[in-house]
Amino acid sequence: MMAATTRPPSSATTPKASQAAYRQQPAIASGATAASASRHTDHASSGNAISLKGLAKRFGDTDVFANIDADIAHGEFITLLGPSGCGKSTLLRAIAGLTSLNAGQILVGDTDITHLPPQRRGVGMVFQHYALFPNMKVADNVAFGLRMQKVPSDERARRVDEVLRLVEMQDQAHKFPHQLSGGQCQRVALARSLVVEPRVLLMDEPLSALDARIRKHLRDQIREIQTSLGLTTLFVTHDQEEAMLMSDRVFLMHQGRILQQDSAEAIYTRPRDENAAGFMGHYCLLDAVEAAPLLGYRSKAGRVALRPEALYLSVAGMPLGGEHPERVGPGVHGVVRRHRLLGNIVRYDIDCAGVSLTVDTLNRSARTLLPQGQQVTVHVDLDEVQELDT
């Protein structure tokens, strides 16, 4: 949909070329430092786009985050996922330079930006509540960054027009922010940070303030634009689905630490520890003793995590919801406590000898819904059992 023809010619497909184009601009603000810093990265574009080394931030006595280490490749879409208060937004603001750090180093390319003010970092940011300038029209909002770079007015107009086309807002250029819907505001905000061709784009829960339908559309659009520009992006969210759908890699954060850095699939199916399993999906967390009857053996790990969709039900020896996998554990008897209809999924709470299990089945037909009190047998897919160290 967002074909190559609508893309700003200056922001070429490869990250390398796009950075080169960015560097031709008279550079950010009055930044002699930034200009020379940019020239540095020219020689090092083979390395990581961003490296975070031992970042730590304290607020009073509490650690907001600590020991943050990560390398992000050029053009990668990274999601910082975690519950509210886990430090993900503060980390993003620290990378942007809006919050100071207590320790650590941030490299963009091989430039150390740790001590640069935000306006000289060459980092773009999109905020949850858009932060559009209410006194300026859409076009002027987008042009602001170019004006700060003293880009000549004809080039400015051309680039503003291009980037507004990219986000499909070219018809709204002469409106004020208060005349736009939330989704439109966020597109303008995206355009405003894209137009200056930042080396890294930071997005702080940009979809959280939008309603569901617009959120889905904009989510796909952001990913599409990001891919076509090859723009290294850090995206903060607390929404698991958003993280799974958009990211090349997910950084799962919990209490100021990165628990796990992995592909969405790996994060979902192979959580590293209890906290990771607790946040992703709807894992049932059992200890080794509780899990033993289901598995047929006593796990050596302290905790066993079972995904609801890796548990299977059968009623009176008849498998429910199609064939069961080959390697299943011995069946355990249980009683349906209640079921919840999530649309395509039916989620059962099953009481099994004092343990409560959550089992998801596909909602194929209303005839197969199990009533409360129904006797069932629960099996587990042994290939999908996660044994977690504690």
Binding site: P118, Q119, F127, Q179
Partner: protein, 282 residues
């Protein structure tokens, strides 16, 4: 129930107009308005009258008093002095209050609570008392302003402080200053540039209201002007006081001129307020 009440009014227009005439609220409002307006109307009449003695209506109408007033150099000089002092006090208070309000809003929220108490202080002490204190304060030291008209500027600053601070603090609350500053800085603007390009324009509405209201208040200020400087620096109100022995027609013209001037300023300020409110509501 409400429907039943209004139904007959819809059916017969005479009933509707009758009930409007006997609406007790409009009588109260009309009565209060009349009481407030009557002295003013009488003053206007006196200012326009050639002679108004023992008769119920003036003998004739003339603009002569106004023309005489507006061509009196002493009046024009007093007017100019009032404007000068008001503008000076407002410039000083803008320069001081704006950064304080900004800091209280973004960095030190505790300061805001202190300021809210502090701005009431000038009203806690009667002007007659505080002018003694002010005379003492400015009698010596680095700011020896007693005997000069300059003393009025810091004095008036304290009077307009509540208006200025509250209006600016309210408009700061209406815009998310911190994220606007953040966004502007990430787009390459330094903090100062970001403030002038992005924050200040969005405070304009609130600042304008504060300035207009404070201005009309200061132009009408008499007590401090009279106590602190008096006839050495004749402002409008002091001039009016000094002219109280002159022709009543002449002073009436002066009062009406002053009133219309203040009215226009207040109207401008209110119009700005409405504009800001409708904009915020959208």
């Amino acid at each position: 129930m409400a429907h039943a009440d209004t139904m007959p009014a819809h059916k017969s227009p005479t009933a509707a107009s009758l009930s409007a005439t006997f609406n007790p609220y409009s009588w109260v409002v009309g009565g209060v308005f009349a009481v407030l307006a009557l002295p003013l109307v009488a003053t206007l009449g006196y200012a326009l009258a050639t002679r108004w003695g023992a008769t119920l209506t003036p003998d004739g109408l003339t603009l002569a008093w106004f023309i005489e007033l507006w061509t009196t150099p002493r009046f024009l000089a007093a007017f100019a002095r009032s404007l000068f002092i008001a503008v000076g006090a407002l410039a000083l208070s803008l320069a001081l209050v704006l950064p304080v309000a900004l800091l209280a809003h973004t960095r030190y929220p505790r300061l805001d609570r202190w300021m809210n108490t502090l701005i009431l202080m000038p009203f806690a002490v009667p002007p007659v008392v505080s002018s003694v204190g002010l005379l003492q304060l400015y009698a010596g030291g680095p700011l020896a302003l007693v005997g000069t008209p300059w003393i009025l500027i810091p004095t008036y600053f304290t009077i307009v402080l509540p208006f200025m601070y509250r209006a600016i603090a309210n408009s700061l609350r209406a815009v998310d200053v911190q994220s606007l500053m953040d966004a502007a800085q990430l787009l390459g603007a330094g903090p100062v540039k970001a403030f002038f390009l992005v924050v200040l324009p969005n405070l304009r509405g609130g600042v304008q209201i504060a300035v207009f209201l404070s201005f009309s208040f200061l132009v009408g200020e008499f007590v401090f002007a009279n106590m602190l400087v008096g006839t050495r620096f004749e402002t409008l109100q002091v001039y009016l006081n000094n002219m109280r022995g002159a022709s009543g027609h002449f002073t009436s013209a002066l009062v009406i001129t002053l009133f219309v001037f203040t009215l226009i300023l207040t109207w401008l300020g209110n119009r700005q307020a409405e504009h800001t409110i409708t904009e915020a509501a959208r």
